[in-house]
């Protein structure tokens, strides 16, 4: 099934976010920080949850270096949905709420957009399995074209998620949203 794609969200500078963007956390993907530290910033604005990074790309072949950003956007309610859905993967197969046998991805509508959680063999890097947080109504994009022909999938390895505190950060953001902080 294909999903209609929404107008791309404008890129922001995560180090100097526009007004109205509340920074709710940041986390380092250590596995993918072999050449430069990959810090991911998490924002909430206008009922949306924005994941963004900013990276300095060294110049190549005499061309000057430049900054580049990747960005992922979800309805804010999606954070709780992501946490709950990942936990479904941990339930025993015969649990009524468990991920169906053989399924590798779960997709559900959340506040008008179809979100997904997918299990992948190398989502955390080479030989590192992990999960992705998907938005099937939005195209993968970064400031270096072209945009992906596929949906947004923010891929996180298990070590990052479960050992480096990223999953806890998602829980915290979900809780803060439910507490009415934003």
């Amino acid at each position: 099934m294909s999903y209609p794609k929404l107008t791309p969200w404008p890129f922001i500078d995560p180090e100097a976010p526009p007004d109205g963007y509340i920074k709710v956390g940041e986390s380092i993907d250590r596995v993918r920080s072999r050449t430069s530290q990959k810090i991911w910033h998490f924002f909430v604005t206008q009922g949306y949850f924005i994941i963004s990074d900013k990276e300095w790309l060294e110049g190549r072949n005499g061309k000057p270096g430049k900054y580049a950003s990747s960005q992922y956007e979800y309805p804010i309610a999606g954070v709780r949905w992501f946490v709950d859905t990942v936990e479904r993967f941990f339930l025993p197969p015969d649990h009524p709420n468990a991920v169906p046998r053989g399924a590798k991805t779960i997709e559900e509508p959340v506040d008008g957009e179809t979100l997904g959680v997918t299990r992948g063999a190398w989502y955390g890097g080479e030989h590192i399995p992990g999960y992705s947080f998907d938005n099937l109504n939005r195209l993968e994009h970064c400031t270096i074209p072209p945009d992906g022909p596929y949906c947004q999938m923010f891929k996180m390895g298990d070590p990052w998620l479960f050992e480096d505190g990223l999953f806890d950060l998602f829980k915290e953001i979900a809780q803060r949203h439910e507490n009415g902080e934003f």
Binding site: L57, G116, T118, W122, G125, P129, G130, D134, P145, Y150
Partner: protein, 741 residues
């Protein structure tokens, strides 16, 4: 016309009676015909004992133990010139008869008893010694006759049989010679109005049987030695843990082909380029059929035309031999010999039985296959064995030299079989005429068949059967002195395309400490079949089937090489045999052969629109795109792997346009989803680590990818190591075999 049988010890004393002694080979023909249940014999054998077995009597006639007399004198005899003298004897008599005749002329009885005067056959008592002709002091001067006979002998296609030998024989005439280049001759000086004519080499009737027996004797001798060797080897490997010694292969339809059991594919050369035998079979058949009605030389010429050196090389390789060890002429000869043998049911059966017996002698595995389809391979092996033996090539497969002694007997038999096609007899031909004859066409060309590899598949349904098969494989491995691939490269590819429906068991090579699990106490068996993924405990592992691993038996080094994984000589390994059917139920496991097609289906079904559109997934999961992908990935560094932004800069620099970048990212997503990286071959096969060379991948085994959503510990999987119906995994201890350098 009537016949009479006599023991060779009771030869008649009269010369005239000896003239009616039928040549043993003709006697075999005559008696066969008379005793055939399918003919109505008009000529009785006067003193035939009806209780005597037909085959026994034919055997006695063949060996000269008994002889047949034709009172009419019309049957071919044993003297060339109708004169009872040693010089006139034909040269191809059984030794026993020749000895008896020699004794006869030496004045002794055939039994070597005291000599007695030669007597007539008269029943009247001899008053005085019968007349004896004076000994010949010189050959009598014979006046030539005035009659002529024109001979014409043609191949079936009408061309003359150049240089063929001929014999024209009458009561008072005997002429022999060779036809001219046109297959013709004019024979003059004949006295008889009626003669017998033979075109071609003499074709004594019983000779075939004798030659078959000679070959059989040699085959038996080799088998006897092989069995003795096998017994010695067996004794030296008895300390191995042979829990089962059952005929598991025969019980489950395993067919131990000549090649799989003996190891025609025993050197690396042969598995580098297993080409399409079907093509070469058609080419061989075409060359053979085109000259089937022509001369021998036409066949060799046609063969050489069809098979240049490159083709010959490919064919010999495809048959599993070293192409440098055989010339085109030898191959042409082998094909001709094989075709002659193949057309003779008795000889074909003999070689087929030998192939199986020889294979069986290598170990105790029972084999039920009748190797009728591998005549050319067996013949080629024997002829090559002789060739290799002569040149003492040390790298030649071990078994080839063992077969070398068979070459002469095989060639003799083939030559005699050929004579039966190329020799013609004509009886009672009137002189003054033209005797025209055409030899028979050669037999059908033997088929170069692809080995029926499906019959080599191991089809076991119990752990007991699986263990027994591995133990039998170890014996075979030791007996052969090394690893022999069970399947050719082409066969592996076919098996990978066919899927896993016939494979109940998959296997996983595990280091012993992984059975207990990370940081778990020894004996806890808390490990899983693969590394658990993060917190879900999902297990994903790449492996192969039991059928594929069988050839490596229980040697961890060989298994690792075959699977294309690192082997740690310091580690202790176990082989986990997984019952795929039970694992699907207990561990929510799914196993597939990771081919391009299967992974495409997997991604498009399980992860629709995640990696890319279904069309793009199909486009990148092809051998063509895989080559592009591998090349582009080669230039990527850590920065490009870690960041999509750095990667896109790199891809643009490589000259990829937007669409090409999207394709690349789609392929990279599939790698993230499934682990199918740039080295993924897409044919469902592993890369053999020892045999592969740069630019030349040798596949080791069919590969499987298993994902367990609900993995269990080894303790659960093996029922605490107790087995039984609760268990769906069996752990086998692996012991390396050291074959030396």
């Amino acid at each position: 016309m009537s016949y009479r049988l006599t023991d060779v010890t009771d030869l008649p004393r009269s010369s005239h009676a000896l003239l009616t002694l039928v040549h043993p080979q003709s006697a075999v023909d005559i008696v066969s015909r008379i005793l055939s249940p399918y003919t109505t014999a008009s000529e009785p054998i006067e003193n035939l004992d009806p209780r005597q077995r037909r085959d026994e009597l034919l055997e006695q006639l063949t060996t000269g133990e008994r002889v047949l007399f034709d009172a009419s004198g019309a049957s071919p005899g044993i003297f060339r010139h109708r004169r009872v003298e040693a010089e006139s004897l034909v040269g191809n008599l059984p030794p026993r008869l020749a000895r008896a005749l020699s004794d006869h002329w030496d004045g002794k009885t055939a039994t070597g008893a005291a000599s007695v005067p030669v007597q007539s056959d008269s029943l009247a008592p001899a008053i005085e010694p019968a007349y004896q002709p004076p000994p010949a002091t010189s050959s009598p001067i014979r006046e030539p006759g005035s009659r002529t006979l024109d001979l014409v002998y043609r191949w079936p296609d009408g061309t003359g049989v150049a240089g063929a030998p001929y014999v024209v024989e009458g009561l008072d005439s005997y002429q022999q010679g060779h036809l001219d280049g046109a297959g013709e001759a004019r024979v003059t000086g004949l006295k008889d109005p009626v003669v017998n004519v033979r075109f071609g080499q003499p074709a004594p009737a019983g000779e075939l049987d004798i030659l078959r027996r000679q070959l059989q004797g040699q085959l038996d001798g080799i088998l006897k030695r092989e069995r003795e060797d096998a017994a010695r080897r067996q004794a030296s490997t008895d300390e191995l843990p042979m829990a089962h010694n059952v005929g598991v292969h025969i019980a489950h339809g395993f067919i131990g082909l000549w090649d799989s059991a003996v190891g025609l594919i025993s050197n690396n050369l042969t598995i580098l380029n297993f080409t399409h035998l079907g093509y070469y079979n058609r080419a061989l058949q075409s060359a053979w059929t085109a000259t089937r009605d022509g001369s021998d030389q036409a066949w060799v010429d046609s063969f050489k035309q069809q098979f240049d050196k490159a083709n010959k090389r490919a064919l010999v390789e495809a048959l599993g031999f070293d192409p440098d060890a055989i010339t085109r002429e030898q191959l042409a000869e082998a094909y001709e010999v094989a075709s002659l043998i193949g057309a003779d049911p008795e000889s074909r059966a003999m070689l087929g039985r030998f192939a199986v017996d020889f294979a069986q002698a290598q170990d105790s595995t029972e084999i039920s296959y009748f190797a009728g389809g591998v005549v050319l391979e067996v013949v080629l092996a024997i002829l090559m064995g002789a060739s290799v033996g002569a040149s003492a090539v040390s790298a030649a497969p071990r078994y080839l030299r063992k077969l070398a002694p068979l070459a002469t007997a095989l060639r003799n038999l083939a030559a005699r079989l050929k004579i039966s096609y190329q020799t013609r007899y004509h009886y009672n031909v009137e002189t003054g005429t033209v005797c025209e004859s055409t030899c028979r066409p050669r037999p059908d060309g033997v088929d170069v068949e692809t080995r029926n590899f499906r019959n080599r598949r191991l089809n076991v349904t119990t752990f007991e059967g699986a263990k027994a098969a591995l133990l039998a494989a170890r014996r075979r491995l030791i007996a052969r002195g090394g690893y022999t691939p069970k399947y050719s490269q082409e066969e592996l590819a076919i098996l990978a395309r066919e899927g896993l429906d016939n494979d109940r068991f998959i296997v996983r090579l595990v280091e012993e400490h992984h059975v207990d699990g990370y940081q778990q106490p020894p004996g806890s068996m808390n490990g899983t079949l693969g590394r658990p993924d993060g917190q879900t405990g999902q297990v994903r592992f790449w492996s192969t089937t039991l059928d594929q691993i069988e050839a490596s038996d229980t040697c961890p080094r060989l298994i690792a090489q075959q699977l294309g994984v690192e082997y740690n000589p310091k580690a202790t390994y176990k082989l986990a045999i997984v019952d795929r059917v039970k694992a699907a139920e207990m561990a929510d496991a799914e196993t597939l052969i990771p081919t391009f097609k299967n992974l495409t289906d997997y991604v498009n079904t399980k992860l629709p629109n995640k990696s890319g559109s279904p069309e793009m997934v199909r486009e990148v999961m092809t051998p063509e795109y895989q080559a592009t992908y591998e090349k582009v990935v080669e230039g990527m560094g850590d920065a490009e792997w870690d960041s999509i932004k750095a990667r896109r800069e790199y891809l643009s620099e490589q000259g990829l346009d937007a669409e090409q970048i999207q394709l690349f990212e789609t392929r990279l997503n599939i790698q993230d989803d499934t682990g199918a990286n740039q080295h993924f071959l897409g044919n469902g096969l592993t890369k053999h680590t020892t045999l592969s060379r740069e630019g030349n991948v040798i596949h080791g085994a069919m590969e499987t990818l298993t994902v367990e959503n609900n993995p269990q510990t080894f303790r659960t999987m093996t029922n605490g190591g107790q087995g039984g119906p609760e268990a769906y995994v069996e752990l086998i201890d692996l012991t390396p075999i050291d074959f030396g350098a």
